[in-house]
Symmetry: D2
Subunit: 329 residues, 4 copies
């Protein structure tokens, strides 16, 4: 009830603070008999891990996954799956100043007010590092979604904008997940430059879901669009969510859009219709700027590292709704 | 688990189909000893009721609330509060054609696929008429929020756009909730004209929440922005949600926005900071167009009647988080 | 969260106070396409209704069910099913004395303390009349359990004791549900005599569940025995729950019982093993005694009328676990 | 939804299998600012740990608690608290025979049927070792219950019976928690003898709760007695639950019991009335008997080691209801 869990039938709880001993996630609701691969799980974590992309944080944490339960001889047991990731690169001394300082846009002040206590060594529970737990949950969700393709892309980062949907969803757009690879060096230079200046930048992400089973989502409060919105808006830096034509719908007459099922982003009446789901998210610039940011342990733009998190949150929503739909068949 | 309920501590479930005998809501979690007024409740329902605003549906339903439980001698008992509204103006014959027809943008096809059965006399459970239950829940939520101001406005409807926030949140902008009252006649003519053509239009809504207690929202998955997003995206016609600078954040450098707490829309780290909360929603054009729409029993634009629904959903989220925060004090 | 709902996938909420306008139940989670019969539902209610068994309350309430939603052309829609029963035989004046009196064993004092307000005209929310809602929910649960037999019997009422399990579970042991029909007149005389004296008596109920699907129940906290215990102990007058050899297990060596699966009452490791489930409940004497009880509007023994309630609660637990098991297949 | 979590506002999920790497618990809902003591927590675990009481299992596991999150400078942060206990004394080879053998009274067969897969090296998720997680949760619950006394005693173990309630609840009745210390040696000899024979024995436990706040428990489905019943019946070996006069109520006339509040075991109308709560549980004999049991790694009677588990489960129920009651004040 303190909001550290997500999902109903595919449900998980996460724990950990940025400067505590470890992060972890316990997933209750993974069906039994699914094939597990530790190296696949680790690959998911590595995509999100810091220290790997030029122009993002230089903090280097291995984020090594240790599976504590729920797996036996390479298969899921149907029991809770617990995965642990130790914190290895904390520098508490960095944060001494923060003992008395509350940063705008951060959770510092609201956390202290709400709980009356705060681990001032970092963002504590509000740290973006918690998203590694989401990526782990997303890996296990993907075991239920073998047919479904869930892909996110950077559609805007600073002055770089990509319109439309990439033809080939499988193509690797690393390291920035920007579908125009010609811009990779420019983006890199832009971000490195930002970092030097101690500044940051916002952007947009496009999420594409293909081959989603028809019939997911519940008619009234747990519409698929509502649960996806909650999932995405629970990511710290996300400030807007839209699906289908999204904000553009305010510009249209019904006669222009309502006779074509394609405009509804794969969701009608809150329920997936089997077509492609399209979602757009806005990310705000990271709030750590100035001298602190110049030290390089912060991301001038969180979006490239947020891509696997967005995909993971989409997967846990879909897996949850898939199990919900199963229940009533 | 079929998604007909909302909230955790202030929780409610709704029932009813557009062509069944009645709609109703059962609210579990209203504290005891609060003063109840049937006429206040009825006023809330009347704001949403059809047949009252030129250029919206001509269906005329009294939407008379009957309280079945939870109130004794004008006060809440702390027991579940059930409120019933009978359906009185159904015309099933209108819908005979729909037995075989599935309207794009409607829930017709997805409902039939998901459940294998559908009440073809109307939109059934997917009907916008369900929102009267939300308005009832919102009334009871408001009993817990005596200090808080929750106000929604139409910020765009067709060519009519209002930028910024009205100075006086208490001012009555009826019937269209558009803060520039000089445009009232123009909006009326625009909608009446649309209705004649059998067309519809989308738009935008601005939601303003003032004097919200500091500390509401939970740090990770149940961030206030996430729960508000879910609440709003659970409204049928809503296609985008943003808070604070919203989509504009993608245009900014951190140096431009991160040193001013005002840009974060009253929510930092997912928790209310006591400042004004600002939310923007997009509504798509209503999906019923053409001959059907010309008959006048459908709204060419749902937004004016959606205003009390948006306010109600905000209130139930705030009431729920208020009780959650109480629990741990 | 105020405890008026039950179940996770087959879930329902009930509302109503004994001297309010009505009782009702909203069931969310009944699969679509099941055949509904209003007369079957009414028969379930009639078994529980007051005024029909000599030696029980003389209050006569029709308990007429009105279905408000969720049914279309005789089938379940998969939407919430709401059923309403109006209160028709309240005599508030009976209870004027209770305004200042708190009866031991009743909820009067604890309710007033907890909520700070109480409908003193009767037991309010704590009234046994709420169990009619459970019977309604049980009817809908039975639609999912066509193969399963759920039968409860009076195994002890005052000096009348029946040991063992009746051979024929289908046999009608009305009106007292006591499997030795030769005692019917004696029980009747015993209860009528008790009523005259203004006294009451406790007793025991045996619940037998046959042909329950194997595999229901979850291994740790939601063991089938745990959820059945909660369901039964949520009935006001129930003071003990046991399954299989129950209390007798304390008398046995493992060598006497652990090599025979029959002793474990159909549940091993918290999960149904496909064998007969046997549960025993104790009911306390009704708490209304003395002058009040002599007026005849109270039951000297609640057990005969509790039989359909016990069966209903077993059914809702089984239906819920059946759907939960479905979800993960 | 797979039943590995417990509680609503004070909620926790546990993970781990008997032959996996570790057990753990994540508690979400511990208020912030409470004083934490690792040595107190470890003492709770030590009371339950195996290998310490003559006549119980000779398996020796340190059960060392490692706190992974939620604690900062000796206080709770209000964030999820994760505690890990590594498994250190597994002997998988002991269990090779069990690959094909399903033991009556164990979860072996039902688990295999339900999940289609089972960790045959031991009882897996169904192992009593999971109860160490409950003891950890109980420790944190006790931080909220500083005034409340929760004490369990062995009231029957084989031929040894203790009637009534000990005068001094604080007295240490270790190692067998049997309130007549004169019998300690006799119990020891009895259990050692049983172990040599490869046999086991059932028994009874008395749970006493003093100074419980008035007003805990919700009127209908979440009655305090219902939630306590679920908590206790979720313990593997428990086969009956009763409160107050319990089964004896079936022997009494209302005139004998209903005028004295003392007979209702501290709970009226499902709500605590501030008086002493009395609960009795039956435990079945452990199911592992014969050659396997003679090896000494199994308990001939689980009850002495179950005492801290019973206390812990009572505490988590009380803490949960305390927070629930807080929420609505």
């Amino acid at each position: 009830m303190r909001g550290n869990s997500f999902g109903k039938l595919f449900s998980f709880v996460t724990f950990g603070e940025s400067h505590g001993p470890a992060y972890g996630v316990v997933i209750d609701g993974v069906p039994s008999g699914l094939i597990f691969s530790l190296s696949d799980l680790q690959k998911c974590l590595d995509r999100r891990a810091p220290g790997k992309i030029a122009g993002t944080t230089s903090r280097n944490e291995a984020d090594q996954a240790e599976v504590l339960s729920g797996i036996f001889e390479g298969k899921t047991l149907g029991t809770p799956i617990a995965v642990l990731v130790r914190n290895t690169n904390q520098k508490s001394e960095d944060y001494d100043k923060l003992k008395t300082e509350n940063r705008p846009g951060h959770a510092d002040e609201t956390t202290l007010f709400k709980f009356g206590i705060r681990d001032h060594r970092g963002s504590g529970r509000a740290s973006g590092r918690e998203t590694l737990c989401r990526v782990i949950a997303g890996y296990f969700a993907s075991l239920l979604l073998s047919e479904v393709k869930v892909k996110a892309f950077v559609s805007k980062i600073g002055p770089f904008v990509y319109s439309g949907v990439p033809d080939d969803l499988e193509k690797n757009f690393a390291p920035y997940s920007f579908p125009n690879l010609n811009e990779t060096d420019n983006i890199k230079n832009f971000l490195v430059d930002l970092q030097k200046k101690g500044d940051s930048i916002g952007g947009k992400v496009l999420l594409v879901i293909d081959k989603v089973p028809k019939g997911l989502g519940e008619p009234v409060y747990d519409k698929l669009k509502a649960d996806l919105a909650k999932a995405m808006m629970s990511i710290g830096a996300v400030t807007s969510f839209s699906y289908g034509l999204g904000e553009q719908f305010s510009e249209f007459y019904g006669s222009e859009v309502s006779n074509n099922r394609d405009n509804f982003g794969g969701i009608e009446g809150g329920i997936s219709n089997g077509q492609r789901i399209l979602i757009t998210l806005t990310f705000k610039p990271t709030s750590t700027i100035g001298e602190k940011a110049k030290e390089g342990r912060h991301d001038p733009c969180i979006i490239p590292r947020a891509i696997p998190v967005v995909e993971a949150m989409a997967k846990v929503v879909l897996a949850d709704h898939l199990l919900r739909q199963n229940a009533y068949r």
